[in-house]
């Protein structure tokens, strides 16, 4: 040793350096950022509220009008039905894609390739105009006897065309999301389930899918939100959704901006509610994870474990 004494040898100096006394420096940069942001947002809000062109009274008048609410209910039900069908079909496609049955895997791959590779708008118009392509729908044995047949025009209404278009398209995207989720689960889990006598279906349902949900939920939330907005495309096939209803009004009244605002606010409201629901579901599937509050005893436990 020798030479100059180390500062830590001095009791007073050591007390000064005790990190328990430490304070973070004042965050001037952050405070300035807050101030600027509040100023700009305030200005935009003020202008929006006082700009007569937004015609807020018109927005208020139409916001809960019967025709708008009807359109809203169509949008919501279309979203729910298409999403549920899309998820179910997507799950089947994902499992088929991962199956060691080559034919199933190839068929699922072709389906995904086609429905992801063509625009949704085109698919919707195609389903709506199915009758020009195949005037009759038949159940029977190919090249053999027919059991039943229907006139395509009776089967394909704007509603069925919309559901078919949205659900079949959604299934292709969901299939890839679910496949990714299934692949994210440790293969040892499926193997353990198998070793304990579970059938492959049961192992998938009880062991693999619940773990895959962690990876499946966030992108599915994304899909659901884009689905709500994608339903607005069905207005091209004369389906009376939310967008179609506001269009019907402004085509008469020419109050384009306020009517679009009505639709925009409704879309934002629905997606906000969905966001809340998504966080709740994510918390549920995070159980058993170190990160969640119920996992706290880990530390308390460590001492007692030995």
């Amino acid at each position: 040793m020798g030479g100059t004494p180390h500062p830590f040898d001095d009791a007073r100096d050591l007390a000064l350096r005790d990190v328990a006394r430490a304070r973070a420096p004042v965050p001037y940069g952050r405070r300035a950022f807050w101030a600027v942001t509040l100023l700009v947002v305030g200005k935009i809000g003020w202008d929006t509220a006082h700009n007569g062109n937004f015609e807020w009274p018109v927005v208020a008048e139409w916001f809960t009008a019967a025709s708008i609410l009807h359109g809203l209910s169509v949008t919501i039900s279309l979203t729910i039905v298409s999403m549920v069908l899309g998820v179910i079909l997507g799950l089947v496609l994902a499992v088929a894609r991962l199956s060691d049955n080559r034919l199933m895997s190839i068929l699922a791959g072709l389906y995904i390739w086609f429905f992801r590779g063509t625009p949704l708008l085109v698919q919707l118009i195609f389903w709506y105009n199915l009758s020009t392509l195949v005037p009759e729908l038949t159940i029977g044995i190919p090249f053999g006897p027919e059991f039943r047949h229907w006139d395509t025009n009776d089967v394909i209404t704007p509603l069925t065309a919309a559901v078919a278009g949205l659900a079949l398209n959604e299934a292709a995207y969901m299939a890839e999301i679910i496949r990714g989720g299934l692949l994210s689960v440790d293969p040892g889990q499926a193997e353990t389930a198998r070793a304990f006598g579970m059938t492959p279906i049961r192992a998938l349902w009880r062991i693999v899918i619940p773990q895959a949900m962690r990876a499946i939920i966030p992108p599915t939330g994304n899909q659901l939100i884009s689905m709500i907005k994608a339903t607005s495309l069905v207005s091209v096939i004369a389906m009376g959704d939310l967008l179609y209803s506001v269009q019907a009004v402004y085509n008469r009244t020419f109050q384009v901006v306020p009517m679009l605002l009505v639709a925009v606010i409704w879309y934002l409201l629905i997606t906000s509610i969905l966001n809340v629901g998504q966080s709740a579901i994510e918390r549920y599937y995070a159980r058993g994870d170190r990160g969640n509050p119920s996992a706290k005893p880990v530390l308390a436990d460590a001492g007692e474990a030995r």
């Binding site: 304990f196 049961r202 159980r287 058993g288 996992a295 474990a305």
Partner: protein
Amino acid sequence: MSPLVRARNVHKAFGHLDVLKGIDLDVMPGEVVVMLGPSGSGKSTFLRCINHLETMDRGSIEIGGEQIGYELRGNRLVTLAARAAAKQRGRIGMVFQQFNLYPHMNVLQNIIEAPVGVHGESKAEATAYANELLRRVGLADKASAYPRQLSGGQQQRVAIARALAIKPQLILFDEPTSALDPELVGEVLGTMRDLAGQGLTMIVVTHEIGFAREAADRVVFMDGGQIVEQGRPEDVIGNPSHERTRAFLARFIQ
């Protein structure tokens, strides 16, 4: 008494690598067989063939008089369908090197999953038995904990309770202590030693020579995909007759 497990001429290759080159092994009911051997000697692969997690290329394995994974229809040997194969595994417990507890289920749910879901026991009945098993492995207070909240040794003891919950006629242990911190190995081996004394049929693949010496009825030494020698632990470990066994044991016993 006839053997519970009968393996004959089991061959298995991964690509060009012959992992098993004709394994014959009989295990009597209630017998504790410990399989020793260097890494890559085929012990784990053979263990996984026993409950058909791994398919084999030649030979046959029988448990309780029933061929595993295949069915003789007249003169044709047919692969069992998934459902029938699952049923065969129903009473074979397995304990894995990486524990493989179901992380989304708590300890109790992990244990009753197969009894309730596969064997159709009532939840109350399965829960009562699960709690008894947890007492036996010394984790009575952990029923509602999630696997990630437990130490490795505790997780492996839960995995053992899970294997016992299906009232197995046979339990397979695939290197149950290899993934554990050294200070946690003892508690798991202790639990296994208790089981060995209770008349369970066990096949244990391990590197724990001490466990083999104390708990095994028979030690099987494998090397290069073959059984080199087998016998009572005091013979195989105490006085090995093959050079390869001696060379292997020399690395553990200084």
